[in-house]
Symmetry: C2
């Protein structure tokens, strides 16, 4: 750390962000570009840290440097601190190295006192303005520096207004203001036991300390925790000559963007207010007009400003958000910074800038945060409609949906079968509700978080979902839900907005996502740039179509269980599960075969010419049956109704459900464990795949099916299933007198599989890491339970740096993936390695996968563009290092 | 592979076991020791493998070598194959490199034909014996070699007997035998389309082939699968001159052990039968007398035999099981092998032999299979009592117990509180039954296997348990259980024998295990020899006492949750869980504190001077509450009874249970996740530990408590809990104005913890690998579910080589343990590393832990001697390599 704690604007530049804060560095940069910036200096973030180390004292070394800078400021401006005739006034502003808008404090008009106020009155010829500024300064300084509650000042103001018989502050006359200033000073004396400081230098030092203090105020601390900003960065303090946009009708203040920040169009866009200071715009107390007013009234100044704005954009190569003031026709720039843009504008601007040659395509790709694409890829509520929001929950799965309220899964199925669109409303969901979720267009729960069962399954199904909506009170017995006074019954229509978490009464028109030309251009650039293939994880042919539309280069994971969940098929599936023996089971499976086959025919047609990796049945069989709890209540009721036939029937089912019951189903009898113990199930699936493929091949349609085996933990499992699959295939091939190549791979989704990948790949043509299940077992977290119980707490309190079900845990899970990839490739250098799960499109995780050199990523359809962009960014960033 | 496929007895020795089989190698060894062994030769296991490679043909190279050996045999014996006057007869026996008693075939008296039978009749002067031998030979040869169903021969025999009007075979006269031989030969001709082979050489070659074939018969293949014997070893074939113990009253046959194989006493022990062949003893058709008969009638021969027996024991340094025959006063040894001993005898003999200087102490330690100790360490049924066994299940947890049948956990608790001993009988158990299991003296289930919930928990609790007893039919509604015709009601008395799986009606007296002097001596030697410390895993002070008695050097895992399960405390625990906020919860915990403290006081007193590692609360909180299913039935009943107050009460509890409900509780909100989210619970426990320790210290009692944190997956968790624990400790220390060192360690029982041990040990003074939970997460197996659903299948069908919950999976779980140990020690070279779980006493796993250089193993009390012996063996075996 150097000993220099204060930098004049002429000594700094934009690269000194960490030291001078964003504001200070930018002002120095603008100054050095020769732009009209009021002069000033910046006290560094190092000084802030030193302030805290010195037990909240500004030490003499820093003070001396401030004194020197102040002297230079006086020389430069020709004004003097405390001089009655030519007084210097300054603003004292916070400025952190990372943006924390509005979180810390700012003091304006510092330097005003009983004497300099007269100089200001004289120099501006506007005594009312001068005294109003002074009383505002006292109020602001007292609030921020002296920590006197600002309500007390407002009370004084109200009294004076009542006495003067006026309603607005602006109607007060000078004599009222003088009286008010007196009252304010008295208040200060009473509260702080000191006179209001009259020495501008004393004011300045107190203000600098107060800004340092504001770094640690409650809202700033919270903001940093939420936004994961280091708490020890500290703030810089920028001291700058005040200019006055409120010095009459030839003065004013404005904010402008070099391009439209909402739509991205290339036009200077902003707001302007005559005879006003910046805070008037910010506080919303006056409504600003458009920049055109400036253009009309002061065309030259406008043109000057426009040129400056353009040069700033060019200089920074990014859209600028510029604050400026005109003081008696003279233009001053107060601040410039990269503008916050809507996702839509970000894309348009990045593409335009690249096309204009302002930035490279790589730079354009890096400019877009992949996360922001999410909002562009779903059906959304028509923004033109007024909506009646009755509650808000967590936005668990994006998109919007309208439907009838239904409280249980059976009812959801019944209504869906009779042509209704329903929204399933529950406390929370569990695997028994899968049918109901399949039958619904959206899901709403009062409990659970972003990784609760409802959230995860809904995202998997790409259905809109709002969870943890604690404002709603469910009464299943009465079949109604209350929100405050409002009461909704089963059958009432609501709309969910899964992108914002809003729950809305009634129907709202939905609009399809329209992907702009710029979006498609950017996606094209990203595709050219990335190395890993991006495939789709889908459940149904419809989703496959969507995935292909959004840029998927194939299907990385086609789940087959949702094909079992179709309401028409559920009875057949249940019959299969309830079979007493292999032969009964085979008969039931024979009935399912043509249905699975028709699904695959459709899927292969949609993905013609592309790889389709099909996962054999994975979930435990009891997911296809009603829960023991439901059954036991029904049995109890049937007993009391003396319907003993029903009792018997239900008890039979109950005992089968109990027999299949597992304490920890996610770690139970599922995946290849089912395939090994009930080989006839996988045989049916493999047969359906092979028959569908051969029938299309025969018609000249190019199909590339692959089979993937879930939940392998030991090489012997893979060996056994591979032998079974090859046998099933050979039966089909000989029946059809034709054949087709179907590679057989495996999911690596258990820690043991990562450790023994070398052995497993002896029997696998390719591997895909299943990030979610792998995270689950590596941490020993049940994904369904963790969020609601302790994961949110863990993330809030930094026990975990991030949610590992969203962003890959590189240290633990990532290390296992690395081990598996390396040893798998040692054994088979041409092994194709992929990954699936939410992490497969998350930018940070994708960079990790790129470093490992994986071959492909598989995502649910609406995350595919995000995966493509992340994969491109990963390549660019890798090359940069 | 050499080209020599046939070895004369004079060419082999005991070390050629793999080549000559156990029998062949032993006979060669005995021959070379100069003992009276009928001469012969052995066709090697290589020849057997070649036989299979050559599509089940004996190739000419082997045949030539057999011809040569036969010639040498004829020279040596002075007899000749097929010679009418001086015929040679041989036995043709299988002999595998590992013992497979009775699994393969043997042919006696080979060489008999229509001519040689006359020579035999003449030479023995016993024509009846000769013709009886011949008809037996035809029958045996036809059965084994020609594969003609032996029932057909028995039918012929029956017809002749009926015709002769006799009942026993031995009553048949020569003419009957001649007729029978004729009938047998006719039968052979009919069935095999060939004459019964008369050429002894042809007989021999056919017999050798048939013995090779018998290697792959069904029962041998199954036996090898069950006993994990390589299927490709092959069998040798030993061809040996026949001697005849049935050549009159000066002949006989016997079996003798050099020491008593049941009790271990040093005395020649065996059985002898005059005028008989070995098969007469084996088949049980005649009851043999004691060896004393030989001693009395032929004292010299007896003394000769005794000397030979002693020299054989000395030669082999192990108790021998010797088969011998006396042919017309001449003693022949037919076979010697290491005797199968009871566990009790094994120990006595090993210790005696070491004391006699026959073997080293190391050798004595290696002689005892640690698994066999299990049977010696529990209360057992008094063997003198006649018992009425009504069913048999799997012996899931050893020991015996008598009590009243009870069908549900609540009832079990109620009865236990009123002073009854109960046995909980269920289909299976789940965590909701823990109270009931605590309250019972034994557990019986109709479903589940050796690693089912009931089995695992019962072993943890060291309670006798029989599972998977499918013969019993439960009818909970009627509160009765039926076994065949037998019907038992709740309240009936039964006795469980957890060591054998027997279910017995009524009470059976139990006897305490008595540990023999030799057992204690051996344990002492093992303690001296082992390097790893062996500690106890216990739940209660009573178990701690037991552990100390059985040799534990401290407590490696003191669980605290069972202290919560005491029926008196359960209401307090439930109150704590149902607390609405931290303050209510603290109040409930304050009531539990003195109870936990009194447990620790007792525990520390028992383990005075030794380490006591206490695990903070681990199970999920809902394990302490009734199940939602039970509650929902009760609510339904209360509703129908219109007891709305009860409904309300129960519904409140129901919703809390639902709130705590987890889909996968083993991977849920438990372990340090509870400690972090409800810090007041751990605070209470740590306070109780520290207060108990300081109060004893103050009385001059030496205590060494340690605290261990369960289920850590991320270093931050350990950091956080460590800080909490230190804070709680410091409060106690300052209140008591005294302090005591309490190291804080962690369980490494999740894959992520193994991968990040380096980071975790920054905050841990020691680590213990929890093998069961680690196996569970590494495989993604729910231990509670796996056995009943697929694990048994996996083991039967060799998908897994062994049950990883019993014997450590070295390839997967072991690799994680290795990674954790190595990286933990890199970070802290003095880190103490331990392990717990069943694997910690299993011999193979313990060898793995010894190779890794772990510091200690922790086992449930009755496994401690097994752990000690395994640890000693591991050191000895490590030094040998």
């Amino acid at each position: 750390m150097t000993d220099k704690y204060v930098y004049l604007f002429s000594e700094g530049n934009a690269r000194m962000n960490d030291l001078l804060g964003r504001k200070g560095a930018n002002l120095a940069e603008m100054f050095s570009l020769g732009l009209p910036v009021p002069f000033g200096f910046t006290v560094t973030t190092n000084a802030c840290r030193l302030y805290y180390e010195d037990s909240k004292k500004i030490n003499s070394k820093i003070e001396k440097q401030i004194d020197y800078a102040l002297l230079r400021l006086e020389q430069k401006t020709g004004k003097e601190f405390g001089n009655t005739r030519n007084p210097l006034f300054v603003s004292v502003r916070s400025g952190s190295p990372v943006s924390m808008p509005g979180m810390m404090d700012t003091i304006l008009n510092l330097g005003l006192n009983d004497l300099t106020v007269k100089g200001l009155a004289q120099n501006t010829g506007n005594p009312r303005f001068a005294y109003d500024s002074y009383r505002r300064f006292i109020q602001m300084f007292s609030d921020i520096v002296l920590q006197i509650d600002h309500y007390q000042f407002e009370r004084e103001l109200d009294q004076i207004k009542r006495k003067a018989g006026v309603e607005k502050d602006s109607e007060l006359h000078i004599e009222h203001l003088l009286e008010l200033i007196k009252a304010y000073k008295k208040l200060v004396k009473k509260e702080s036991k000191e006179e209001f400081p009259q020495d501008p230098k004393v004011q300045l030092m107190m203000a600098v300390g107060a800004v340092f203090e504001s770094w640690n105020n409650q809202r700033a601390t919270l903001y940093r925790r939420i936004n994961k900003i280091e708490q020890t960065l500290g703030t810089a303090v920028t001291v700058q000559e005040m200019v006055f946009g409120n010095m009459g009708e030839d003065s004013g203040t404005g904010v402008a963007f070099t391009r439209n920040p909402a739509l991205g169009d290339p036009e200077l866009y902003g707001e302007f207010l005559w005879n006003a200071q910046g805070e008037d715009v910010v506080s919303g107390s006056r409504t600003p007009g458009s920049l055109n007013e400036l253009k009309t009234k002061m065309p030259e100044t406008y043109e000057d400003f426009k040129k400056i704005a353009q040069s700033l954009e060019k200089h920074y190569c990014s859209v600028q958000d510029i604050e400026f003031t005109i003081e008696q026709k003279k233009l001053y720039l107060l601040q410039t910074r990269s503008a916050k843009l809507t996702p839509k504008a970000s894309i348009k601007i990045a593409v335009h800038m690249a096309q204009e040659g302002l930035i490279s395509r790589d730079e354009a790709l890096l400019r877009i945060d992949p996360d922001t694409l999410k909002g562009l890829l779903h059906e959304t509520l028509d923004p033109k409609t007024d909506v009646n929001v009755i509650a808000k929950g967590l936005p668990a799965s994006p998109g919007a949906a309208t439907g009838m309220i239904v409280f249980d899964s059976e009812e959801a199925e019944r209504l869906q079968r009779t042509g209704h669109e329903v929204i399933l409303v529950r406390r929370d969901t569990n695997p028994d509700d899968i049918h109901g979720m399949v039958a619904s267009v959206g899901i709403l729960t009062s409990q659970g978080g972003m990784t609760s069962h409802a959230a995860v399954v809904a995202r998997d199904m790409s259905k809109p979902c709002v969870v943890g909506c604690s404002a709603i009170n469910l009464d299943e017995a009465k079949q109604e839900v209350t929100i405050g006074e409002k009461r909704l019954k089963a059958g009432d229509i609501i709309t969910l907005d899964g992108s914002t978490g809003r729950v809305i009464i009634g129907q709202v028109p939905l609009i399809a996502p329209t992907l702009s030309d710029e979006f498609m251009t950017l996606l094209g650039w990203a595709k050219d740039r990335k190395k890993m293939a991006v495939l789709g994880s889908v459940n149904t042919p419809k989703e496959a179509m969507q995935a292909r539309f959004l840029g998927a280069e194939g299907i990385g994971l086609c789940r087959t269980e949702q094909m079992f969940m179709d309401p028409v098929r559920v009875p057949l599936v249940q019959e299969m599960i309830l079979s007493q023996n292999k032969w009964e089971r085979k008969k039931a499976l024979d009935n399912l075969l043509p249905m699975q086959k028709s699904d695959f025919l459709e899927m292969f047609r949609i993905m013609e010419g592309k790889d389709v990796i099909i996962r054999l049945l994975d979930p435990p069989l009891h997911e296809f049956l009603p829960s023991a709890e439901t059954l036991s209540i029904e049995i109890e009721r049937a007993k009391l109704a003396r319907d003993f036939e029903d009792v018997q029937e239900k008890e039979k089912l109950f005992w089968r459900v109990k027999g299949l019951h597992e304490l920890n189903p996610s770690f139970g009898h599922r995946g290849c464990r089912i395939g090994i113990t009930y080989p006839e199930i996988y045989d049916m699936q493999v047969t359906a795949i092979a028959e569908a493929a051969l029938e299309l091949k025969c018609k000249g349609i190019e199909v590339h099916p692959q089979i993937i085996v879930p939940l392998v933990s030991h090489a012997n499992e893979m060996k056994m299933v591979r032998e079974q699959v090859l046998e099933s295939l050979s039966h089909v091939f000989s029946r059809y007198q034709d054949q087709i190549e179907i590679p057989i791979g495996t999911f690596i989704e258990l820690p043991r599989a990562c450790i023994t990948t070398r052995q497993i790949v002896q029997y696998a043509d390719f591997i895909i890491f299943g990030c979610n299940d792998l995270t689950q077992a590596t941490f020993g977290y049940s994904r369904d339970d963790a969020e609601g119980k302790y994961l949110a707490y863990y993330i809030d309190y930094k026990v975990l740096p991030e949610n590992p079900f969203v962003s890959l845990d590189e240290e633990g899970v990532g290390e296992l993936i690395r081990m598996g990839t390396v040893s798998g490739r040692e054994s088979n250098p041409r092994l194709k390695v992929g990954t699936c799960g939410v992490q497969s499109s998350e930018k940070k995780s994708v960079r990790f996968f790129q470093r490992l050199g994986l071959d492909y990523l598989s995502s649910v359809p609406h995350l595919i563009p995000i995966g493509i962009l992340s994969a491109a960014q990963a390549v660019i960033l890798e090359e940069k290092n």
